[in-house]
């Protein structure tokens, strides 16, 4: 018996942060509103704009002052990241009442496999989508657009290219409508940015259809010749996407278990001096290890990197190294990160720094070291955790964080670089 064709939804929240703010402040309902990062830092850009603000030409990621020029009466609110996470989980719970197969793709997009739900609810995919749309709006005030397809890639492209643009906010992309997708320019395809589009244009590929109709073997050959290296996997990903082919399952347990614990920060000004960078490395290590200890993990691999200051000429590095023993001790992670910077940092100005701890394992099996004072450090940091959990995150820290290049205060109040 052939497998029944799957029905996958991608539910996307319109102007998510702005919508959450609007439903929290009903007085702003009919006013243009933007959520903006802190203008005193470099994150002072528009994170979300409501449709009314967008009608003035305000776009996401432009500087706040520019948005205010376009729309002088715009209401500006600070981001409240933990509220957005809460609403995102609330929407996830609503979706889970229709199917147990729900997979978040970002804070405002979630996949749902409703194949088995349709017969249970006795309705068509579009009817179910309309119902979900209504319920999410009713319960959270957020307007969702639903792309429907027989796999995730079609659902995603149905949403991005059609559902977001039509009146109902719902679109089903199937064999009958592939021509509509194929007529779109190549950069409208999932996975193609402006750089890839330029490459493809050189190969005479301008639309998604051009890509879909190039035989795979030929595409691989052309890409290899043009890029001067083997691009077989990349070519195949592009070709399959253009043809709407994707077997990946909707994976509700995609977040089972932690894969890595990391943090990054964009600095308020470019850092040039190594000792300034070290202060931040130490703080990031401290925060990561604090989280690792709270969750009962130790990691074996430290990953560290930096991005240069020049946006147009991306320089920087991102490298990893193995630790001699699994660790959750800040000093050890810090010294690994320092080593990575010693080896790979070119001395140029730094705009963004990140560290993560990977290859995690439970910390119930702990190896005391024969050398050094591991037990003492471990004890010290556990004690610091205890003090912080009682008196707040700023109650105890390493002396290096007293330097004015410290980012600790900033990091402690932020989620994803924005206010909690």
């Amino acid at each position: 018996m052939p497998k029944p064709q799957r029905v996958i939804f991608l539910a996307d929240c319109q102007s998510f942060y702005a919508s959450v703010e609007k439903s929290a402040h009903p007085g702003y309902e009919h006013k243009p509103l933007v959520v903006s990062g802190d203008p005193s830092r470099r994150s002072g850009i528009i994170l979300a704009a409501c449709p009314l603000a967008k009608a003035y030409g305000v776009t996401t990621a432009e500087p706040l002052w520019q948005a205010q020029q376009k729309c002088p009466d715009v209401i500006v609110t600070k981001p409240r990241m933990s509220a957005y996470i809460r609403v995102s989980l609330q929407i996830m719970s609503i979706l889970e009442s229709y199917s147990d197969l729900v997979e978040p793709f970002s804070i405002d997009e979630q996949f749902v496999d409703v194949t088995a739900s349709l017969s249970h609810f006795g309705c068509t995919p579009v009817e179910l989508a309309r119902h979900i749309q209504m319920r999410v709006r009713e319960e959270t005030g957020v307007y969702t657009r639903v792309g429907i397809g027989r796999n995730k890639i079609l659902a995603k492209m149905a949403c991005d290219n059609f559902a977001k643009k039509n009146e109902t906010g719902i679109y089903e992309l199937n064999e009958k409508h592939m021509d509509a997708l194929w007529a779109c320019p190549a950069n409208k395809m999932f996975g193609i940015g402006s750089r890839t589009m330029r490459h493809l244009a050189r190969l005479g590929i301008h639309t998604i259809g051009d890509l879909a109709h190039t035989p795979l073997g030929e595409l691989k050959r052309k890409m290899k010749r043009y890029m001067k290296k083997n691009c077989d996997i990349w070519s195949e990903v592009l070709w399959r996407t253009a043809n709407g082919m994707d077997d990946s399952p909707v994976t509700p347990d995609a977040f089972d278990g932690q894969k890595g614990i990391g943090r990054q920060t964009t600095l308020p000004v470019d850092y040039h001096a190594r000792e300034d960078i070290d202060v931040v490395l130490n703080e990031l290590s401290m925060l990561i290890c604090e989280r690792a200890r709270a969750k009962g993990y130790m990691g074996t691999v430290v990953h560290a990197g930096a991005q240069g200051a020049d946006f147009d000429r991306p320089v920087g590095f991102s490298r990893q190294m193995k630790l001699p023993e699994p660790s959750q001790i800040s000093r050890e992670v810090y010294s690994a990160a320092k080593q990575l910077f010693d080896t790979h940092w070119d001395g140029g100005p730094v705009r963004k720094i990140w560290i993560s701890l990977g290859e995690l394992q439970d910390d119930d099996v702990y190896q005391p070291s024969l050398f050094g004072n591991r037990d003492k450090l471990r004890h010290l940091e556990h004690t610091m955790d205890g003090i912080r959990s009682m008196f707040g995150p700023a109650s105890v820290y390493f002396g290096s964080s007293l330097r004015n290049t410290s980012q600790l205060k900033f990091l402690n109040t932020k989620i994803g670089g924005h206010y909690k």
Partner: protein, 115 residues
């Protein structure tokens, strides 16, 4: 190859804040059905003894009661012990003895948490 197999296409392009991921993980943990712990003879004996002692002396007790989605604490006075159906009456509810994981005095901690 990763991008062409399993959920690779999406794993590699997913944009998630770690706080969001954390919140999802803890939401899933709450949903998980708990396995009933197996108590050894000493433990069951100690529980039985404490229960009958509390019953006789009419002392308030605290019991840790197993539940599919996590155990809960209940406080009260034991008003009846029903050996037939293997249950006790605490306040206004009947609790099956097999669900009782621990017993302690009203304001004491459970023996299982003294580490």
């Amino acid at each position: 190859m990763k991008k062409l197999t399993g959920n690779g296409l999406w794993e590699s392009s997913r944009m998630m804040l770690f706080e969001h991921k954390d919140a999802i993980i803890s939401k899933q943990e709450h949903k998980q059905i708990q396995k009933r712990p197996v108590l050894d003879e000493q433990q069951t004996e100690r529980i039985a003894e404490k229960l009958s002692q509390a019953y006789r002396s009419k002392q308030q007790v605290q019991v840790l009661v197993f539940g599919d989605y996590g155990s809960s604490r209940m406080r009260g006075m034991i008003s009846r012990i029903d050996p037939q159906l293997q249950r006790i009456r605490l306040g206004n509810t009947w609790i099956s003895l097999s669900d009782i994981l621990d017993v302690s005095g009203e304001n004491e901690r459970f023996a299982s948490e003294t580490d």
